[in-house]
């Protein structure tokens, strides 16, 4: 007996990211086919799908991180706040300031905890005074739920932290420059369950301020954390809808097969 569904709310929220007919090539191999999707602001959007379906590749097109890989080609449009980020003359450095990214394996710099979080602030010359910088670093670490654990040892090496703490440090580092969109590529896949649940709580808090796109291969995580979910397969977007609807009454059979574990 299907329970009544809440109506899908898309029109009320403003669209932050709009992708139109995106095609992506690694050399001759086409990795993404005609992807079109709209991501409203201040929600958590999850990308799910089996390994190799292109969800990480697609995530990386949103802040043009694929530009650093030689031989890649992009067709179509990615509009953030109605500006196509692939238009010639786009300031990619500024784009990456506005669209932050947290990677699957935490990658803190071999510097102190403070210098890690301050790095983005320093290079973007966000603050000039020392006390203002310290204030921003403290705020970022609090936002990432790491402040209490490290406040007494900000000058020690970031590499001395545990895996979960390092990942939260990377999140703090990304949040310090106050991006508008936060992209998270399987942020908890290398972490134990307790650290994972801390990250998930964090995401829940963060979506009040940021638009978050999270790639995850863990469907339960997607169901717990996200408002909307997009299912990818073999480089194509199969279905996108409110999370509740995707996981209880998906419209496409392939989605249902994936959700119920028939493949992937």
């Amino acid at each position: 007996m299907p329970r009544p569904m809440a109506p899908v709310e898309t029109s009320s929220a403003k669209t932050k990211v709009a992708v139109r007919n995106l095609n992506f090539f690694y050399g001759r191999v086409q990795a993404l086919h005609e992807i079109s999707i709209e991501i409203p602001e201040r929600i958590v959007m999850a990308f799910i799908g089996p390994s190799g379906c292109g969800k990480s590749t697609f995530l990386r097109t949103l802040n043009r991180m694929n530009d650093v890989i030689p031989g890649t080609r992009v067709g179509g449009e990615v509009l953030i706040d109605d500006h196509d980020i692939y238009a010639p003359g786009t300031d990619v450095v500024d784009l990456r300031r506005r669209v932050g990214m947290v990677f699957q394996k935490s990658n803190p710099f071999p510097k102190s905890i403070f210098d890690n979080v301050a790095y983005g602030l320093r290079i973007n010359r966000v603050t000039s005074s020392g006390s203002e910088l310290e204030g921003r670093v403290e705020q970022a670490l609090k936002d990432a739920a790491l402040w209490n654990e490290v406040k007494d040892r900000l000058k020690t090496s970031a590499l001395s932290l545990s895996g979960g703490q390092q990942q939260r440090l990377c999140i703090a580092r990304a949040l310090a420059i106050r991006p508008e969109v936060l992209l998270m590529d399987e942020p908890a896949s290398a972490l134990d369950p307790i650290a994972t649940s801390k990250i998930e709580e964090l995401i829940f808090d963060l979506k009040k301020q940021y638009t978050i796109v999270i790639v995850t291969h863990n469907m339960q995580q997607a169901a717990r954390v996200s408002d909307r979910t997009a299912f990818f397969l073999l480089g194509k977007l199969i279905e996108v809808n409110a999370t509740e609807k995707i996981f209880t009454a998906p419209s496409v059979k392939t989605t249902e097969d994936y959700i119920t574990g028939r493949f992937g």
């Binding site: 991180m65 710099f109 790095y119 990377c170 420059i177």
Partner: protein, 281 residues
């Protein structure tokens, strides 16, 4: 069945013991050769080594004298060559690792590799042609440039290798924060590789401190303490050469002592490199 397994086992163990002994003997041979060389130098040289020897300049046979000016000269030449060679070498290394891609980068890498193999006397003759001949005199500057030209390819390659060891995820992390590429390189990648780059630089200095041939036609040698960079200058290596081929026993003894000093200098640099780059961060 069980008997044949035991046999195979026995053969395998005998093989393993044989190879272990063989590699052990080879190691002893190699290390032993080094120890014999060092020991012989120390034994031969220690007799003539005294404080006066280290601070005095060479004097005619029978009047004693020392290698003070050669020590100062060698250090000065190392300084000049480092000033020219290290920045250039490190920059080439950064280019090869971070920026140069495709055919041009491959061509540069090939040229650098070839340059590491050029005989040092050829470098000396080259610098003779481009600096000594136009300026019409030997000089410390020419000697420093010759040593720098030997240093640059070595430093470039070790710098490149060290930069390549920095994990790509660090570069991506910095790029994702809105850093332009030059900031990523200078602010994250090079500092992360800094201990390795410093090791490479110091090893290049140690290597170059033992060069004799390129100095023969550039710095030439001198009996006096250096006063200007535009004059010929003494160096430990050339001094040892001059003393060793002379017909005087007294100078042979001084050559041995100078060799001991040079070996100590090189060993000292190597040990300092090891000490300074022990794991910290």
């Amino acid at each position: 069945m069980a008997a044949s397994f035991t046999n195979i086992d026995r053969i395998r163990r005998a093989n393993s013991a044989f190879m272990t002994t063989l590699t052990g003997l080879c190691t002893l041979l190699a290390v032993g050769a080094l120890i014999i060389i060092l020991g012989h130098i120390a034994w031969q040289g220690i007799g003539s080594l005294n404080w006066q020897f280290l601070i005095d300049r060479p004097r005619p046979v029978g009047e004693g004298g020392g290698i003070g000016n050669a020590i100062v000269g060698s250090l000065l030449l190392l300084l000049i060559s480092s000033v020219f060679g290290l920045p250039l070498g490190i920059c080439v290394g950064i280019y090869l690792s971070e920026i140069g891609r495709g055919r041009f980068g491959d061509a540069v890498r090939f040229i650098v590799d070839t340059l590491t193999g050029i005989p040092s006397i050829v470098t000396g003759v080259f610098v003779y042609a481009i600096i000594v001949v136009p300026t019409k005199h030997f000089s410390a500057l020419a000697g420093g440039v010759a040593l720098a030209m030997i240093m640059i390819p070595i430093v470039a390659r070790t710098t490149e290798e060290m930069l390549k060891l920095v994990p790509h995820s660090l570069r991506e992390g910095a790029l994702a924060l809105g850093a332009p590429q030059w900031r990523v390189i200078l602010g994250v990648v090079v500092p992360a590789a800094a201990p390795g780059i410093a090791t490479g630089a110091m090893l290049a200095i140690a290597r170059v401190s033992g060069e004799t041939a390129p100095l023969l036609f550039t710095a030439f040698g001198s009996r006096f303490f250096p006063e200007s960079l535009n004059q010929p200058i003494a160096s430990l290596t050339v001094q040892i050469y001059n003393y060793a081929i002379s017909p005087f026993d007294e100078w042979h003894a001084q050559a041995w002592a100078a060799t001991l000093v040079l070996m100590t200098l090189v060993l000292g640099i190597n040990i300092m490199v090891r000490f300074l780059t022990r794991k910290k961060f």
